[in-house]
């Protein structure tokens, strides 16, 4: 065997390994995930991308913070220790690195990223025919409405409503850029951008009728809430009035059925929840994995409800010593699963009552309140309406839906708790709008990277 024969034998082997056919082995594709291109390959896939935004949107954080930060919830004695949930936030001695604040911020902006990603690629979607073209426009409108809605939720939690301290709020993000570090935004500009999305969405319409997604009615409902917070009462009335004729208030026992997800009488928009959702409105008040109750209704609200009797009280009245939070009793099949009712017509009644009051249309204002009370089976003689009455009505009607803290914050009221509702006798009873802990800070992790966000 001479050398040349050896080389002639060996070299092809080595060349084989360097050849392109071997290198084709390296062209692999993931088999359990989808690639970017497939999302835009049809309008149907694009719609599933839109559903992806809903699937991971956790508005429960708004409900939690809006409720427990004010006076409608009481900390359960079990809600302590390493598995404690929002207890520091509730007792007003949280720090800026609080878990709940971080998760709310993260989840909202992750959802906004999904929306922006889809919007920036909407032109790539393969479509044919006018029906598909229109469907695409509807989906784009739905995404814009969602974007405005989610930003507004962030603004409710972290934004500054106090005119004296500077009037800044969270950034309004419309671009996909993972390296962006947007600074704090003046509130007026925030409202302008959010409004732009609402107007564009309504212009093309979402063509959606499913109660689990943003229909045009849902956008109107959201818009009326949006304008109420800005004190633009005329616009609020314009958006809310048509809905009041279209949707009926739930009467009598239909109210309880509403909360059990049996009927949809009042509901304009309800985010669906299923077994795969880790967080649902029910899990905010009770940790099912360990069997511990996290929050009870405060004695303050129970007293109010007891005084008025009627359907609202029926939700909370119970044989047990300490009444659980009755708005999320579970549905027919599971006691720990409910959809999140984002917009109900009752809220619009209350928005109209407030708007009419500030527009000096007092009679229409008390008419709204009276209609609501009638539906709830509450007997009360009509008196001259003042803003405090509306606030109390919102307190008892919209409890545990994430409104109380935000209502008091936007009207610059003190947060007042009864002594029996305090977790510890040494805890504070009051939080004034001038107290540093009154306004929730931007999460520490964010301001570390992005110091321009602090104000």
């Amino acid at each position: 065997m001479n050398l040349s024969k050896i080389l002639g034998f060996v070299t092809p082997i080595l060349i084989l390994f360097a050849s392109s056919s071997c290198n084709k082995i390296l062209d692999m594709h993931p088999q359990d995930k989808l690639q970017d291109e497939e999302i835009y390959s049809s309008v149907r896939n694009y719609e599933q991308g839109v559903l992806g935004v809903y699937a991971e949107l956790q508005t429960e954080y708004n409900i939690l913070i809006g409720s427990i930060f004010a006076d409608e919830a009481r900390l359960a004695s079990d809600n302590m220790g390493v598995n404690g949930y929002a207890n520091n936030l509730h007792r007003w001695n949280y720090a800026s690195d609080d878990d709940i604040l971080l998760m709310a911020w993260k989840n909202a902006y992750a959802s906004i990223y999904k929306i922006n990603l889809l919007l920036s690629n909407s032109e790539r979607v393969v479509r044919s025919g006018t029906a598909e073209e229109e469907k695409l426009n509807n989906l784009v409108a739905e995404l814009k409405a969602l974007r405005s809605f989610i930003h507004f939720g962030l603004h409710q939690i972290y934004g500054d409503f106090n005119k004296n301290t500077g009037n800044y709020t969270v950034p309004y993000v419309t671009t996909v850029d993972i390296h962006q570090k947007p600074p704090k935004l003046p509130t007026t500009e925030f409202y302008a951008q959010a409004e732009k999305d609402i107007i564009e969405a309504l212009a093309s319409g979402t063509g959606q009728s499913d109660i689990g997604r943003f229909s045009d009615d849902a956008i109107h409902a959201y818009a009326s809430r949006f304008y109420l917070y800005q004190k633009k009462y005329k616009e609020a009335i314009i958006h809310a009035s048509p809905l009041v004729t279209k949707y009926k208030l739930a009467e009598g026992e239909h109210y309880t059925a509403l909360w059990q997800d049996v009927r949809n009488t009042e509901v304009i928009l309800a985010f669906r929840r299923n077994n795969n959702n880790e967080i649902r409105p029910n899990t905010l008040w009770r940790n099912y994995g360990s069997g511990k109750t996290l929050f009870y209704p405060s004695y303050k609200i129970l007293n109010h409800l007891e005084q008025e009797k009627g359907e609202r009280y029926a939700l909370f009245e119970d044989i047990e010593e300490e009444a659980p939070i009755g708005k999320y009793p579970g549905n027919t099949y599971a006691d720990n699963l409910n959809d999140v009712k984002a917009f109900r017509i009752s809220e619009l009644y209350l928005i109209l009552a407030e708007a009419y009051l500030f527009e000096n249309r007092v009679a229409e204002s008390s008419e709204m309140l009276a209609a609501l009370r009638r539906a709830r089976g509450i007997d009360r003689t009509a008196t001259a309406v003042r803003i405090d009455d509306i606030l109390v009505e919102r307190f008892t009607e919209l409890c545990f839906e994430g409104h109380r803290y935000f209502d008091l914050k936007r009207l610059e009221r003190t947060l007042d708790r009864d002594t029996e509702d305090l977790a510890l006798t040494t805890d504070r009873k009051q939080l004034l709008p001038t107290d540093p802990n009154y306004k929730l800070p931007i999460p520490f992790k964010e301001t570390q990277i992005n110091p321009d966000l602090k104000w």
């Binding site: 065997m1 082997i13 088999q31 995930k33 989808l34 220790g81 390493v82 950034p171």
Partner: protein, 1015 residues
Amino acid sequence: MNFRSLLTISLLFLSGIPLRTIGQEKNITVTVKDEKTNELIRGATLTDATHSQSYISDQSGRIYLPASSSMSRIVVSMLGYQTEQLVLKEGKSEWTISLLSQENDLSEVVVTGYTKQSRAHTTGAVSSLPAEGIARMPVASFDQSLQGQIPGLYVASPSGQPGAPGRITLRGIGSIQDENSAPLYILDGVPISAGSFSTLNPQSFENITVLKDAASTAQYGSRGANGVIVITSKKGNSWENGTPRISYTGQFGYASVNNSKWDMMNTKERLLFEERLQDPNFPGWAHSRNNPNKLVNGALMPKTEKDFLEGDEILANLRGIDNDWRKLLLRNGTTNAHDVSYSLGKENTQIFSSLSYFNQQGVLYNSGLERINLTNNIAHQSGRLSLALNVNLATTNSKISESDFDVSETNPVASLYFALPYENPYDKDGNLTPGPNRFGTNALSMYQDVDRRERQYKSVVTGNFAYTLTEHLKLTSTSGVDFQQINGKHIIKPDTYFGSLVEQGGQGSYTSNTNNYFSIVSNIGFNYSRRWDNHFIEAIGLGEINKQKISSQGFTGYGLVPGLSQTPGGITPGTAENNLIPQLSGGISENALVSQIGLLRYSNGNRFTVTGSLRRDGSSRVPESNRYKYFYAGGASWNLGEEEFVKALPIISMWRLRASYGLTGNASGFASDFGYRRLYAVSHYAGQNAFVPVSAGNPNYNWEMNRVTDIGTEIGFLNNRITAEVDFYNRVTSNLFVDRTLSMTSGFESVPDNMGKIRNRGIEFGLSGDLIRKDDFFIRLGINGSYNRNRILSLGDEDEIVTEDYSIHRVGQPLGHFYMVRWAGVDPQTGAPQYLDADGEITSTFDPDNAVLVKGSFDPPLKGGFTARVGYKGLQVSALFTYIKGMYRLNTGELYRTSADANYRIYNQSRDMLDFWQQPGDQSGNPSPQYERFMTDRELQSADYIKLRNLQINYSIPMSNKLSKYCREISVFGQGQNLWTWTKWKGQDPEDDNNWYQYEYPLPRTYTLGLHVKF
């Protein structure tokens, strides 16, 4: 030539008879063997003393001398052996000569994966450990037994769960994602997955070689950055008279937890604590005579005399219960191991087989590991072909405790600290009474009602082939398969407390999942070696393919039927009405690596050696723009012991210098197989499928690159009675995957980007020597250690990155330096906790913005071990101590047991808490209970330790005539593992692989007794 002659010649060729011997008559064949091991020696030199011609023995140890030669006296020599002479007599054509190996470390053969050469010719920093020393240690995952034995190798054992793997780093942590800094493991030429050592039987290993620098690891190219650990299995060899060796080793023992730092309150102390707290939710105050009020519906009302009497009775009952939860939740776990092996070495065939059984119960109930392992190594040489087939099969059955590494109330180790001493787990009928906040009872109930099991099947099959084409050239090929299947089950029984807490249906749950891991490697190439005069050259060229495939599938079903909880048949199918819809999961992924390797070595006698390696890797895990990379290294070594001026110094018996430099890559730095792409996963909404983005994609994804410089020296004194080894190294890892923190407004918290640079620079040393070396008495001591300085050189555009757990990566500092708010004691006037703000001023407000760099990092700069062996006649005692210095850890357990604040007072506290601040003027270390407790550097503790890791006492029973009829050797031995720990750490064990204490399964003390018999 006609066809028939062609056929004859081909057949002869294939049958391996060298062509040149056809037609010749009766060659003289001399076979050269190793006297001790009977192995055939290749490369031995036979010199004809009269005609000064020399011949070299081939692969099968044979030298062919022409029959016509008139040689009578021959000299046979081989590096590392004593030279022998032989007189050839007429008439005999077959001769065998056995060489006795010399006591010279430089002759030791070093296996570095693709190459095999003597230590004298090795240019890389390579440490070798004969497996015998660690094979018998009673740890289920043998990587844990490597600690303190090899300079530069640090094994952190995160958990005492039987079978839990350690985390091994070589020469510091070279990656910011420190879980991706594991070395590459090779078993008989085939890479095996890390973390599966609980399935391997160390008693079937011959040798473990650790490759540390570039000259030795660059042959592994993109996977060599973190070092390579090469394991070689045993080969068959018989006793001198040819009979096979049969041996048996058995061990029995038990393990228990080291609780010397336990200081939790007992019932009396706890009730006193509650009384001082004045919290009406706790019995110590609620029923105290000193408390005039009782709590009714949230309001305080005065007590009546009846209330006081009731209170007295309740307190008396509570005082009667004083549980030591250590006795209830922990146990002594037993260990039981048996190993039988058969070893046969004939001329052409060597067989090694072993069967072993290992069973270790964990110190927490319902946890443990059972393993059966079968090893079969066959090697065969016939003519030009030599092949070796190694088969390793194992099955393990383990029970795993809940929530390991989790600070949660379902973790039994946490329950140990949380449970109150007056909590009575049983009712009057003797049934367990679990419920919310009954931590101890819940842990007991979990032991019996929740099962977490894993059954693993693993097989590693490797084949090595070599075909000698000519005297200098041979073809080689290695192929191997590593297959692993893990079946996990998690069963929560229905009709139990935990069963009722299952969200879907409250009737327990049955989870089953299967993970398959399949890896195949195959290479083929040539090995050319030539020796002339004093020169020796070896060149190796290979082409290699590596492919890995991972798939998993699983389901969780609900609504178990009581009594049928052990099978999926007991699951109630989900319907629209019953909310018992099962959950399904699955995944599949694969990756491939295609490489070309070239290695070159030149040696001048024993004096100089120069090596070079070049490897081109292409990986499917990297986007096309960066897919192919070249990795290279060069090394040189100089054996000063051959120089005249050193030979003149009798005190120095060996002295080698070596240096190397090279470039390697870290392929395990990739978080996933397709992380560089933008991908979507499937989710659901309103009964429809939805797509959610899961990775942002990064088209510039690249390998992490490692440049290592190494200079080392090995010295032996006094005839190698004392040997020392010192290495300086400088390892710079660039293109590091940094989880670049982003503003969350971008949609992501962080994105991995290749932009960091870390330097690990240090010195490794090992010193060992015989203090006394007499006929039947010796004392041998050794010490090894390494000092490593880790510095972040660059983080791309950032100056610092804050990580989740109170630590920061800052340029100029070591990786993972702790970054926390500083504690400044308790204000004696108000009892408020005090902190230092960023400027060093005292403040009472806790603001995470005031965090500064504190104390140190979690990777210890100084680590190593010392060994002592003493032998007298048949008795041998060996001790292994391991030590680390400079490691800090966050003791979260300490926070929860020194917190009287509202959040944590439901947990049992440490005795120190009896004197928390109560009134103005109190000097106390613990603040008033009305203030929140936050994590500060008060909880940051030093985790330095010196451990007596292993103590073995071995006695060889002297062989009397009667005994030697039955067997050749009997010895009995006793072992203690993890016997003593000297440390300041306040907890069960300071060892861990990360910077938090998370109530990990404690590392126990194990005592065993064993018997070893050789037939």
